[in-house]
Amino acid sequence: MYATTYHKPKTLAEAVKLYTNSDEPSYLSGGHTLIPTLKSRLAAPAHLIDVRNIPELFGIEVTADKVIIGSATKHAVVAASGEIKAAIPALSGLAGSIGDVQVRHMGTIGGSTANNDPAADYPAAVLSLDATLHTDRREIPAEDYFQGLYTTALEPGEILVRVEFKTPEIAGYAKFRNPASRYSMAASFVARHRDGHIRVAITGAGNEGVFRWTEAEELLTVNFSAEALEGLTIDPSRMMGDMHAPADYRAHLVAVMTRRAVQNLGGTHIL
């Protein structure tokens, strides 16, 4: 890792000011994506601005129809929250399935959502649960937020402050993990919202990152059961292919995981 200068601002305004006035700055949250990247010298920010001292980035609020999570909240805290588990069990199960215990003690929802790794878990929940991303300057609907591999609507210097999920009528998450890295090779988050609309978000598989599988949503709108999805396939040309899983295998997994998510509504199914 190259030399860098570390900052730990106490307010959002101070953080943004530091970012704006620095040469080659980067925000740092749990560091469990960024630090490995710095160690392999794939990035070399001259200034690291740690956001974990800013009070607005912490806290969990569960209302009658929303779950709001501060962006610096660790995966382990989300997984252990009884309130979140009662409101959206699939979301707490998802947080508890990320990486391993040590990773969950450091990694944060904001870091994961800002990073938008095509194999990350949270983006599937953000998209399926029709979330709103609150930043230091505006609100971004999930629909407009994800813009392809490792790309989001966040502008340089914009800080993700909290993620506001809509509490669905019911939701389920199913993922098939790479046995070595434990990142998903295909995962599906299925939610039926209170107004009846259904959202299916797929992560780990798409060659443009997380996406909504609209064909599955249409079938589930007519008949909200795994049987409705029998025979539905997804075009392998939309899938990533690598040494762990070629595109046609990932396409197969997407269909299986989506059926499993529907069979496990109200929880998670981790393979």
Partner: protein
């Protein structure tokens, strides 16, 4: 450079460090506590696991400056008055180590696990929760046995304490 103070195994330690220093480097090279190992240096293997403010984390992926003001426990901090911690003792009795390289990380992860579950562990949970620790000697079987034994001791001690 930053001047930081981290309380390690109960003793405050103040040092001048480069901002890019990892916590594991601070522990091993600045403090000379070499019980914490570096296996992969890429956040995968868990050999560098320590407790940061009471939680198991991989110290190769935490900046020392970011841990300024924190409490750290390393493998050297577990034994009390020359008596091994129950988890250390259980690893010894069940032959939970071969070359011993992964052992400090395994033990720190296990102590954290037993605490979080208050000793209520079964084999499936132990195997699942040790996912972040790799043993290249592949001695998982006896590691799991050792953790289950230490968990049972933890439950027994707490049952006595409750009476």
């Amino acid at each position: 450079m930053s001047r930081i103070t981290i309380t390690v195994n109960g003793a405050p330690q103040t040092r001048e460090v480069e901002d890019r220093t990892m916590l594991v480097q601070f522990i091993r090279e600045h403090l000379g506590l070499t019980g914490t190992h570096v296996g992969c240096d890429t956040s995968q293997c868990g050999a560098c696991t320590i407790h940061l403010d009471g939680e198991a984390v991989k110290s190769c992926t935490v900046l020392a400056v970011a841990a300024d003001g924190s409490q750290v426990t390393t493998i050297e901090g577990l034994a009390e008055g020359g008596k091994l911690h129950d988890v250390q003792q259980a690893f010894r009795e069940h032959h939970g180590l071969q070359c011993g390289y992964c052992t400090p990380g395994m033990i720190m992860a296990s102590v954290d696990m037993i605490r979080r579950h208050d000793g209520m562990l079964d084999e499936h949970t132990v195997r699942h929760e040790l996912e972040g620790n790799i043993c290249r000697c592949t001695g998982y079987h006896n590691i799991v046995k050792a953790v289950l034994d230490a968990a049972e001791k933890h439950r027994a001690a707490h049952a006595v304490a409750a009476e």
